[in-house]
């Protein structure tokens, strides 16, 4: 008997996501439909406003991957105005984005994804001494591994369970046979869940030092807002006549910089001593997940982390490109501005197009008219043969593309990035898995861990460069030349892109007479979570779920594992609305 399994809300994600899955008599998923069920309309709200303000609005697209939309936004304005930012500002943006990756990926692993693999209740059966031995084997250098420590954590969980108030752990699928970890591994993971909570609080301070707070640190078109309040003596110049004290007057002072160094160290230690070893240890018990959950087999990156400024792609740590059908030997160039490359479709979305619902439109010509045709709430099921999501379906040259950590690691691997190659090969050999294991739920989760290490290591280099610049007397953080809107052309258009933790992200802006005339964003979770297109091609989530066998349709943990492996961010994915349905301005860039 076939049936429809509905999971709504999908929890432990950002935003509002619903999955409807058709299963056959064996409980195997034959078709899955991914629906975003919340929309706000931020681009419409942005129209008519000061482009220099846009980053703050756009940043509120998401508070989990906080800052990524802020960066994409200031880059879009800077691209439109041909506005260069000082070297220090670029380094600080790299450091802030890098910190976001590390913070976000670790929290995703421990606080959002882990409970798909870790049975909290089973941890009660663990022997703290054996857990300590396991922990010291998995990660010999991590200090929080004594039997007493694990006994304390166990006591905490015990109080929770026996007191009958499970709180956030209530109604989990505890005891489900899909949980494979021994009690000791479960206890170790629960302890690290708590450790990671404490750790993330401290490392978030990096954003506070540069951006004043986290979540939602501040940004600035033309640079970064935080002036450096260190006044180095310049060779032969002394302190200069303008120096009037104020040493240490901003958070970017010597104490702040020392704190940043300390945070980078804390980040690298946690990634090296806890996150990477835990990923490998847990993966060893779930090797059956290395052959399912792949998705579409096409991968795309826009590239990011420039060493020499955004206009020089050769200096990016993460390169740009597209990989089709797992073929790593050919990297296709991706052009954000070419109208025949990136298109968005609405054939299964709650929008209308004046050109017809089966046509695709490049974001420059993007046209969006909210038109809800779904069932009147409250409803049991969506009509997935028709429109079923507030997400559009972005396609690159007509193909569904996966973006995110797996795409980035594959891109770096394909381009021969030495550290990536070394890490991927080490992981595969430790788990005794073939390279094809990357194309899976397990591979996606592992890729996220590996790229975290790559970026954590790169942070030190950006920090060292920033210090070297300050030492050499360069304390510039902002370029004032184009700040005043009276210096802008009457019309300017630009695209700002970045690699957000969840994947390739771009914003397009049209500026007219100093105001925003049009604003468009195509974001990672739209690429991954979008619905089917007019050709009936699944989005990556939908494709990835196909073939999953549900052990118990009432406890669809298999769906959660694969969906969480993408780290959904649905508030990001759904945000493009234009109730007026106007034809948006056609834009050509460069």
């Amino acid at each position: 008997m076939s049936r429809t399994v509905v999971v709504d809300p999908i929890t432990r994600i950002e935003g509002h996501l619903r999955i409807e899955a058709e299963t056959d008599a064996e409980g195997r998923i034959t078709q899955a439909s991914s629906a975003g069920t919340m929309v706000r309309g931020i681009e419409i709200i942005l129209r008519g406003r000061d482009p220099r303000d846009a980053w703050a609005f756009a940043q509120r697209i998401c508070g989990v991957c906080t800052l990524v939309h802020g960066i994409a936004s200031v880059r879009a304005v800077e691209d439109a105005l041909k506005y260069e930012v000082p070297a220090n500002a670029q380094l600080i943006r790299n450091l802030m984005t890098g910190a976001q990756y590390i913070h976000d990926h670790v929290m995703h692993f421990y606080h959002l994804h882990a409970l798909d693999w870790v049975d909290v209740v089973s941890a009660l059966k663990a022997d703290p001494k054996a857990t300590s031995e396991l922990a010291q084997t998995v990660s010999p250098s991590y200090p929080r591994s004594s039997p007493g420590y694990f006994a304390d954590v166990q006591k905490k969980v015990k109080g929770f369970v026996e007191g009958g108030q499970l709180g956030i752990f209530a109604n989990g699928y505890w005891g489900h046979p899909a949980y494979k970890l021994p009690p000791e591994a479960n206890l170790m993971a629960v302890a690290h869940y708590l450790d990671a909570l404490a750790w993330q609080r401290d490392v978030a301070k990096l954003h506070t030092i540069f951006g004043g707070k986290n979540p939602h640190p501040n940004f600035l078109v033309g640079g970064v807002p935080c002036a450096i309040s260190i006044h180095p003596e310049q060779e032969g110049k002394g302190r200069g006549p303008h120096h009037r004290g104020g040493e240490g007057a901003t958070s970017l002072n010597i104490v702040g910089l020392a704190n940043v160094q300390n945070i980078i160290k804390q980040m690298r230690e946690f990634v090296d001593q806890v996150y990477v070893p835990d990923t490998l240890a847990i993966a060893g018990f779930y090797k059956d997940w290395s052959t399912q959950g792949e998705g579409v087999g096409n991968f795309m990156t826009y590239g990011d982390f420039p060493e020499k400024g955004i206009s020089d792609p050769s200096s990016y740590l993460i390169p740009s490109g597209a990989i089709l059908n797992r073929d790593l030997s050919v990297i296709h160039p991706v052009d954000l501005h070419a109208e025949n490359e990136i298109e968005e479709f609405v054939s299964h979305s709650w929008y209308d197009y004046s050109v017809g619902k089966d046509k695709g439109l490049h974001p420059y010509k993007g046209e969006t008219t909210l038109h809800y045709t779904g069932p009147k709430p409250p409803y049991e099921n969506l009509d997935t043969a028709k429109d079923y999501s507030w997400l559009k379906s972005p396609r690159w040259k007509g193909k569904a593309m996966e973006v995110g950590p797996l795409a980035r690691v594959l891109m770096m691997y394909a381009k021969g990035h030495a550290q990536t190659k070394e890490l991927v090969d080490m992981t595969l050999s430790k788990l005794d898995l073939p390279v094809t294991a990357l194309y899976s739920t397990l591979g996606r989760t592992a890729a996220r861990t590996l790229e975290t290490k790559i970026i954590a290591d790169a942070m030190q280099g950006w920090y060292d460069q920033l210090i070297a610049n300050i030492k050499a007397g360069d304390v510039r953080t902002f370029n004032e030349t184009k700040w005043d809107p009276s210096t802008w052309p009457a019309v300017a258009k630009g695209a700002g892109f970045m690699e957000a933790p969840r994947g390739a992200l771009a914003h397009w802006i049209v500026i007219k007479d100093g105001k925003i005339d049009n604003y468009q964003a195509v974001v990672p979770s739209t690429w991954n979570a979008g619905p089917r297109d007019p050709q009936g091609q699944d989005g990556p989530y939908e494709a990835a779920l196909k073939g999953h066998k549900l052990h118990d349709p009432k406890q669809p943990i298999e769906i959660l594992r694969t969906i969480h492996s993408f780290d959904p961010c649905i508030a990001c994915a759904v945000h493009v609305t234009d109730p007026d349905g106007e034809e948006l301005v056609k834009v050509k860039i460069k």
Binding site: V6, D8, T11, R12, E14, T37, M38, R40, I45, D50, R52, F57, R60, G63, T66, H111, L112, L115, K155, K156, E162, G163, Q165, G167, F169, A170, N171, G172, L197, Q200, R201, K205, H207, T208, I209, F210, G211, N214, P215, N218, L220, G222, G223, P225, A227, H242, R244, G245, T250, S251, L252, L370, Y372, G374, K376, P377, T477, E480, L560, T577
Partner: protein, 363 residues
Amino acid sequence: MSEHETLEQRLSEQGVSRRAFLKFCAALATMMALPPSSASAIAAALSQAKRPSVIWLSFQECTGCTESLTRSHSPTLESLIFDMISLDYHHTLQAASGHAAEQARDDAMKAFYGKYLLLVDGSIPLKDGGVYSTIAGRTNLDMLEEAAKGAAAIVAVGSCAAFGGLPNAQPNPTGAVAVSDIIKDKPIVNISGCPPIPAVITGVLAHYLTFGELPALDELGRPKAFYGETIHDRCYRRPFYDQGKFAKTFDDEGARNGWCLYELGCKGPTTHNACATTKWNGGAGFPIEAGHGCIGCSEPKFWDAGSFYTPLSAPAADVASISQAAAVAGAGAALALSATDRAKRQQVQQSREKLTLEDLKGN
């Protein structure tokens, strides 16, 4: 473990001494700006508490408020959810999904009817029957009204739930409104901010758990303990405002010497929040310290109050004349001015206090 075990017992089992517990209570009292004597009242209340049920509903939001909560240094999120409350429904943190998640909410609403605390983040879209945001096939309005019925009190976390926030910004495409626009028969506390300061969220919860009632609120429903004064009045750069020393751009000498950001658009003078005192992320800083003016994120309609970089225009005459005088006469004269012209400054202050962001609309 007994059903009636108290917080103190639980802490003691975890090796937390009575002395440490009392210290924690004293810290809470300080944070909530309560007299030191109330520490013992807090200790007494928390010693008896079984973890009260908290249901957290997320509507049109970005999850920044939840992320902020996880950054709380005191009390930490761990101590909050393990020792102080039972967080029975929270999309981002709860293990259960789908039907099991909805069941957890139903169970908590039944078991603690009339007693649970309802937290809400995000605005609620009312346009077109609420189709712009649904959970488990139900509109946000439907879910809010149902959960509000059995709630002892409601906490609107963040500017979207408190005042409508970003979704409510012009032209408000989805008809987004605040919790207090819908629920009229329950006590509601607004913890505004985009996001709110984490210690403010946990502090309000601690106050409620301790005294069984919401803290004293201002006319906008915000706890006076945190929103009683403006950022400007508590800002460490305030002396430079008084001296007429302003940063003119973001990395000039003034910016690097920590001068006032008023002329770069700082909304500190009209924004009520505790950023300048409580600071962010364990005291690592706050926006003005990191060189960007306050954007006014804890005030209603701040998204529609003009550019973040346009200086507050009122009390324009007074401040402009002060800063002009400073510019003409130089820093020394400005110092003298600030020292002598107290009456004028007072006048500026008075007119500023009357100023709301509503007044600034269209500037």
